[in-house]
């Protein structure tokens, strides 16, 4: 393992401290754990809390700030945070308007957030949650845990965060978060695995001529392994799966071409070149495009494509002000 770290057991804490020190007037770390909150708590709004394992930077701490999250909880690398950590985050940001947790659809994340929300309710904090499941690589059926939550989660943070900032009710913020979830789809692939620091070696091996299609964001293998193809052919397959899942034709979309952490922008722009042409040919209008590392899998090389179907309400919230370390608008 070759990484710029000091000690395996300090990775998460030092990462969070470094993030907070990059924006000391805007962010604060709680003393009790790896929890990032806004430096200045804002009352009179629904507080948004997200979180998950570490290794997805800038998610989720990088999205704490005006117009997006109020708090983010970082678990160990690729491991859901524990209920007591999440509960501390909820307590720190809770207002009388309530708290909405944005949870990605993983068994562990849901269990830990549910337990934390139960603890919050015991202390008379109004708390609820939504589950993001945008990954079309996984079949959503009775026979699986359902689709994973991946890069589309950032758009839930953005849009629900914008509405929360206006002082909307918990029910209204939850409803708009669910509207985003219903309209956002993502699929990803990888050309290299990544190494969890505590494991010390890659999660899987891929030769120079192979790729994994349908990967998640935890260094796990995808749904299929096959021979590496040209960038355009890969993007074509991912876009095919995404646009099969919901109908985007004639609609306006927000696009994320997301790097998994180890792919240069050069390659992401090559992908975006194809994405833009593909959507144009299909009669899908691009409202805005984000290209970069928004939801990563440590140093994995690969990318995901996210499409969010927009209407006037979502467009307005998408454009609203955001001032966080990782996303400004």
């Amino acid at each position: 393992m070759k990484k710029l770290i000091n000690a395996v057991e300090k990775v998460e804490e030092e990462m969070i401290l470094g993030l907070v020190k990059s924006a000391p007037d805007k962010l604060r770390k709680l003393d009790c754990g790896n929890v990032v909150v806004r430096a200045n708590k804002k009352e009179g709004k629904v507080a948004l809390v997200s979180g998950g394992g570490s290794g997805h930077e800038p998610a989720h701490g990088g999205y704490v700030g005006e117009g997006m999250l109020d708090g983010a909880v970082a678990g160990a690398v690729f491991t859901s945070p524990t209920p007591d950590q999440i509960f501390e985050a909820i307590k720190a940001v809770a207002t009388d308007k309530g708290v909405l947790c944005i949870v990605k659809n993983y068994t562990g994340d849901i269990m830990n957030f549910e337990m934390a929300i139960d603890m919050a309710k015991d202390e008379d904090i109004k708390a609820d949650y939504v589950v993001v499941n945008d990954d079309v690589a996984v079949k959503d059926s009775l026979y699986s845990t359902g689709r994973r939550g991946v890069a589309g989660t950032i758009l839930v943070h953005k849009i629900a965060g914008a509405l929360a900032e206006t002082g909307a009710s918990l029910e209204e913020v939850k409803a708009v978060a669910e509207k985003v979830i219903a309209n956002v789809r993502t699929m990803g692939m990888a050309i290299t695995a990544c190494t969890v620091p505590a494991a010390g070696k890659p999660g899987f091996e891929l030769s120079d001529t192979e790729m994994e299609i349908g990967i998640g964001i935890h260094g796990e293998p995808g749904t299929r392994r096959e021979a590496l193809k040209k960038a355009d052919e890969i993007a074509d397959e991912l876009l095919g799966k995404i646009t099969e899942d919901i109908d985007y034709v004639g609609k306006e979309v927000a696009v994320i071409v997301n790097g998994m952490g180890g792919t240069p922008l050069m390659e992401l722009y090559i992908i975006n070149n194809f994405v833009n042409d593909y959507l144009g040919k299909k009669g899908i209008k691009i409202y805005d495009t984000m290209v970069g590392n928004y939801m990563t899998s440590i140093e994995m090389a690969g990318f995901s494509i996210t499409l969010l179907r927009l209407d006037d309400e979502l467009k307005k919230l998408y454009d609203a002000k955001a001032d966080t370390p990782a996303l400004k608008r």
Binding site: T82, N112, M115, S144, T145, V196, G203, T223
Partner: protein, 207 residues
């Protein structure tokens, strides 16, 4: 009969076994999941050993409850809430007891499995820890009801759990992160079922 001081030894022995098998459990998880099962369980049981210091005068229920709460707050992932809930539920059944007999163990295991099913919304045949624990429970209960010695009944329970772990190799995961790789999970044994087997084996070795 298991006394509270024996229970402390058992919990410490479970921790030692989990820590010893950390790399193997992680390797199993790499194949079908996200490669952290051993790391997370070892961190959690390491914390349990620290918590058990100074609890020599506590009843078995308190020991198990503390173990469960420590696992919930240190393991993370899905294993934390699942094993944590299991130990807490078993602790609730054994509240205020300073010794437990075979019937107590059956009742505690039933509550533990119920907790896992409730928290994980899972059942057998989904390639999870339940595929080791449920057949083990059935064997233990049958043995105890037939009047067998605890050690004999537990031996059969461990054999059933071993078969359960083997069975997980033959099926695809439909719960947890392993379900994302679908049929690619066939051929690999489930890490959670494996760690459950270790816990039962340690229990057998210490009664």
């Amino acid at each position: 009969m298991i006394t509270n001081s024996q229970m402390i030894d058992i919990l410490k022995a479970i921790a030692a076994k989990i820590i010893e098998e950390k790399d193997f459990l992680t390797e199993l998880d790499n194949e079908i999941g996200d490669g952290d099962h051993g790391i997370n369980m070892a961190r959690g049981f390491g914390a349990v050993v620290e918590k058990l210091e100074g609890m020599a005068d506590k009843d078995i229920g308190s020991l198990l409850k503390t173990t469960g709460m420590t696992l919930v707050s240190t393991v993370g992932g899905a294993s934390g809430p699942l094993y944590g809930t299991a130990f807490m539920k078993a602790g609730a059944v054994l509240k205020d007891k300073n010794e437990m007999d075979a019937n107590d163990l059956v009742a505690a295991m039933e509550a533990a499995i119920g907790g896992i099913q409730m928290r994980g919304k899972a059942t057998t045949g989904e390639k999870t820890m339940l595929d080791a624990l449920c057949p083990a429970y059935d064997a233990l209960k049958a043995g105890v009801e037939a009047g067998e010695d605890l050690k004999v009944a537990l031996t059969k329970a461990v054999e059933a759990a071993e078969k359960g772990v083997e069975y997980t190799k033959t099926i695809a995961a439909t719960k947890g992160r392993a379900s994302y790789v679908g049929d690619r999970s066939i051929g690999h044994q489930d890490p959670g079922a494996t760690s459950s087997l270790y816990i039962l084996k340690v229990l057998l070795a210490n009664v």
